[in-house]
Each structure stands twice: as structure tokens, then as C-alpha cells.
Amino acid sequence: MESEIRNETLIEARHLSRRYGPTLAVADLNLTLRKGEILGLLGPNGAGKSTTLKMLAGCLAPTAGEVRIKGVSLRENPNLAKRHLGYLPEQPPLYPELTVDEYLAFCAGLHGIPRAARAAAAAQAKQACGLTGVSGRVIGNLSKGYQQRVGLAQAIIHRPPVVILDEPTVGLDPIQIREIRGLIAELGRSHSVILSSHILPEIQATCQRVMIVNRGRVVFDDVVSQDMRFDSVAVRLRRAPQAAELAALPGVARVEELGEGRWRLGVAAGADPREAIAEAAVRGGWGLIELRAVQKTLEEMFVELTSGEEPRNETMGEAKAA
């Protein structure tokens, strides 16, 4: 953690709250985005994801709290702070009657790119978003996937350090979703990205850090990686030994028999007993036919965190340790 703090902080939101009349859409939300990070904002519909992103992008004033972008307060100096931002709202902000080139030239000008550099900036954004072939087409005639790309091109045309994307793959077909995901991963190399979604695999596939929001509150905020959610091992044996023998293996914390030779072995914190199990099975002639780590998916965490009344933060600590 220490080394991460030393990295440049690009977005810092402190105690952000937003009310819509009597409804509290976002309550006391803290968010930090560091350089080079892709942060996924995950939550069920109506959890306050879009509201949060709108506040970060300066389109909505928070009822309480403050947003700083590269250290510049969005409240005190909005125009300077917004220079560092690229924002793609849920509905891409397009002018259907303009061509892609006309639209991008306007966006470049709007973000303060000098006239001489606008064409180059637009060309670069088109290149990055795979739009070069549709330069002269009218936006209204493009497919939904291409329109989404134009929206994305608009958000990165001025090469902002921070890109905010609100549900960038909603309404796209599976191939387009894959393409946009690839694009976001690409973006993550040169920009910091905040991405919201209610689609779990999307977050899992693209983000390094996940924030789960439920009813306007952050219930989980941590790093995710492919192999960290593994807290039990599924084993299938033809000639199973006594449960005690399995429990005695190093790294096995709990043993649960599922029947028909299937076992679920709970893993002690920080241990990986798979090798020991395989060796013991060979020695004892247990007839090992299946052995795999059962990963705790983001989906399980998500359901666990968003369905209960009480957010359970402590389970996340355990999961991370494993």
C-alpha cells in the first residue's frame, strides 16, 4: 500500500454525498484514483454509480464533499480541473447530424486544443478507437457500437490523464463488447480510467481495482487479481480415505464431504494445499480423478455484499489474504 500512495493521485473524492430531494443517492463516498489504474465501479442498478461519475466529471454538484482532480478543486476551479478529464456518459453525447470528423474537431476545440493541432488529435483518437474508416460518415447513420466508439474518441481526444466511462458497453453486442473492452485495456496503459458497470465479468476482465457500491455506499474497495479468490479446493477421489486423513494434510482447514467421492477442502489462510493433496493421493492410492481450486468469484462477492442488509467488510479481508 505504501508504494501506491507515493504514486500520483489523480482523482480524490472526499465524503461525497448527493441528494435528489428526499432520496440519498450517494452517501459519504470516498474515492481515490491513482496514475495508471483502471478502477471499476460496480453495483446493482440504482446504486449511485452514475451519480458518482457525474459528480466526478463536474456535471453535477455534490450536496456535500469535495472532488479534487490532480489537486485542483472541482468546486473552486472547475474549468481548470475539467481540463484533465475525459467523460463518456451513459448516453454518448453525440450530435447525430454531424460527421465523425466534424464532431471530433468540435470536441478538440472545446477542450482547448489549438486549431493547428486539432486534426492530428482527431486522427489519433480515431486511430485509437478504430474509427478511421468512418471519418466522413454522419454519426446518426452509424451503428450503436460505432457511436459508442465515437463517444469514447471524444473522451480521449485531448489525451486527459483521467478518463471516466459510464457503462461503456451497455447495449452492445458481444463482439462489440469485446472490442470496447480491448480498447479500455489499451487506454489503461496511457490513462487512468474509472469505469462503471453492473456486468461483473466486464469489471473482472478489465479492472485492477474494484469498488462495489450499494445504495450509495461503498461496501468494498480493493485490488482484484485472477488467482486471489481461492479459498477452497474441490477434490474427487475414487477410493476416499477418512475425513480426518484429509484434514491432517498441510494447508487444509476444513473438510466437507459432498458425496460420490467429492470433497470440498477449505484452505487455510495463505496456503496452497493442492500439491500436498496430489502427493497424498498417490501415496495412499486414493484414485485422484479431479483436483481444482475453487475461486471465489466477484459475482459471489457482489451478491454477498449487495443482497444483505449489513455490508460485510471483514470477509473481504480474508479473501484478500487467501
Partner: protein
């Protein structure tokens, strides 16, 4: 400040990309051309109008521009209705709000784009009386005052329409609303004929009262200031309205 021009150019382009602007220009030109020809025939038949007090510019220009205000009252709401409401409906307003341009720059930019359209309309209005130049001794000052009056009226109509457009997300409602607002401010003049307190104040507030003098070729700076204040007030209200939306 450069943001204002970027937005203005963009707005002007969007206005002229849409068929609405061309349709409006064509219909206005058709109607005013019809009126102009009528006036011309009328004037040629009754040459005795042209005494030492009323010249051809008075007759043609005055009547034409008087009629033009009524046409403008009908078409300006159509030109202003989409400015903010459509952007809000399509979500493209977010682009402007999340950009480094301030709300004042956004409003001024959009308004300036609209002013570009007004100038096109004004050019058509100027062209008709000026076409008489080769054959007559036209009083250019008189025509100029009339055109200035039309331009000021357009500025005022445009600002009010822009404000109404920022109130709603339905362009048609914005059109109906700004038409209603303009007609009301126009008709306030009726109150000045009634025997009621502050009758004169109502007369002064009316949009059309200040136009009469200019149409007659009388340049009074208080009339010009009235229209500019009216315009500034509604532009300021638009900025306030957009700021309110953010909160």
C-alpha cells in the same frame, strides 16, 4: 473566450446542417417577398404617397419591416426551440457541461451561433429594399434604422427563446413557450391604453413599443438600450437556469 467562438461556430454549423433553417429562410423570404411586391405595386399605382414627407424608403421599408416583426414572432421560437432542449434530450448537453467551458461561455457561444443565423435573415431583409437602389433615391439612413430595429428585435426574441429552451427537454414545448412569452411581452402594450395605474410603465416594457421609432427612422439610444438589456437579462437567466440544473 475562444470557447465561445468554438461553440458559436459549432452551433452555426448545426443550424445550417438542419433543413429547418433553410425552410425557415425560404418561407420567410417567400412571405416577405410577396408583401414587398404588393407594396411595390401599391406604391407605383398611387405615386401621390410620395410627397415631401414620405419617401419610397418610408413607404416600402417601414411597411416591410413592420410586417417582418410579425413573421419573426412566429419563426424565431422555431429557431430557438432546439438550442438547449434538444441537447438535453439527446444527452449531448453533458459534453458541454463536462468540458472546460464555463456556463457563461456555453450560453454566449450558443447565442452567438444563433446571431449568425439572424444575420443571414437580416441580409435577406436588407436585400429587398436595396434592390430598388438603381431606380430610386433611397434614404439609406431610414432603411438602416429599420434594419437595426429588426436586428434588435431578433436579438431580444432569440435571447428569450434560448431561455425558454433551457427550461425544458421537449423542443416543441420550448417553441410554444417562447412564442407565448414573446406574444405576452408584446401585448403588454395593450395595458398602456387602459386607464390603470402604471399604464405608461407597461407601455414602456412592451417589446414592440420601442420598435416603432426605429421603424420610422428615429434612432433613440434608449430604445437600443432596452433591447440590449432585455437580451442580457434572458442570457443571464439562462446561465442561472443551467447552474441550477447542476445543483
Amino acid at each position: 473566450m475562444s470557447n465561445v467562438f468554438v461553440i458559436a461556430r459549432h452551433e452555426l454549423k448545426r443550424i445550417f446542417v438542419s433543413p429547418l433553417a433553410w425552410a425557415v429562410l425560404a418561407v420567410v423570404q417567400l412571405i416577405l417577398g410577396f408583401v414587398f411586391i404588393n407594396l411595390l405595386i401599391d406604391y407605383a399605382r398611387n405615386a401621390e404617397y410620395g410627397d415631401q414627407f414620405t419617401g419610397v424608403a418610408d413607404y416600402m421599408g417601414g411597411a416591410l419591416y413592420g410586417f417582418a416583426t410579425i413573421v419573426l414572432l412566429l419563426v424565431m421560437p422555431l429557431m430557438t426551440m432546439r438550442l438547449f432542449s434538444e441537447e438535453r434530450k439527446s444527452g449531448s448537453l453533458t459534453l458541454l457541461l463536462s468540458s472546460p467551458a464555463s456556463l457563461t461561455e456555453v450560453v454566449l457561444g450558443k447565442y452567438l451561433g444563433l446571431v449568425g443565423f439572424m444575420l443571414a435573415l437580416l441580409a435577406l431583409l436588407a436585400a429587398m429594399p436595396l434592390s430598388l437602389l438603381p431606380g430610386t433615391d433611397l434614404d439609406l439612413g431610414r432603411i438602416g434604422a429599420g434594419l437595426l430595429g429588426v436586428f434588435l428585435i431578433m436579438l431580444a426574441f432569440g435571447a428569450a427563446g434560448l431561455f425558454v429552451s433551457s427550461l425544458t427537454r421537449e423542443p416543441t414545448i420550448a417553441a410554444v413557450g417562447s412564442f407565448g412569452l414573446l406574444l405576452l411581452v408584446w401585448l403588454i402594450q395593450i395595458l398602456s391604453y387602459q386607464d390603470i395605474p402604471f399604464a405608461e410603465v407597461f407601455g414602456y416594457l412592451s417589446l414592440i413599443g420601442h420598435y416603432e421609432d426605429l421603424r420610422r427612422g428615429l434612432f433613440d439610444s434608449s430604445d437600443v438600450v432596452y433591447y440590449l438589456l432585455f437580451t442580457a437579462l434572458f442570457l443571464w437567466l439562462t446561465v442561472q437556469r443551467l447552474d441550477l440544473e447542476r445543483n
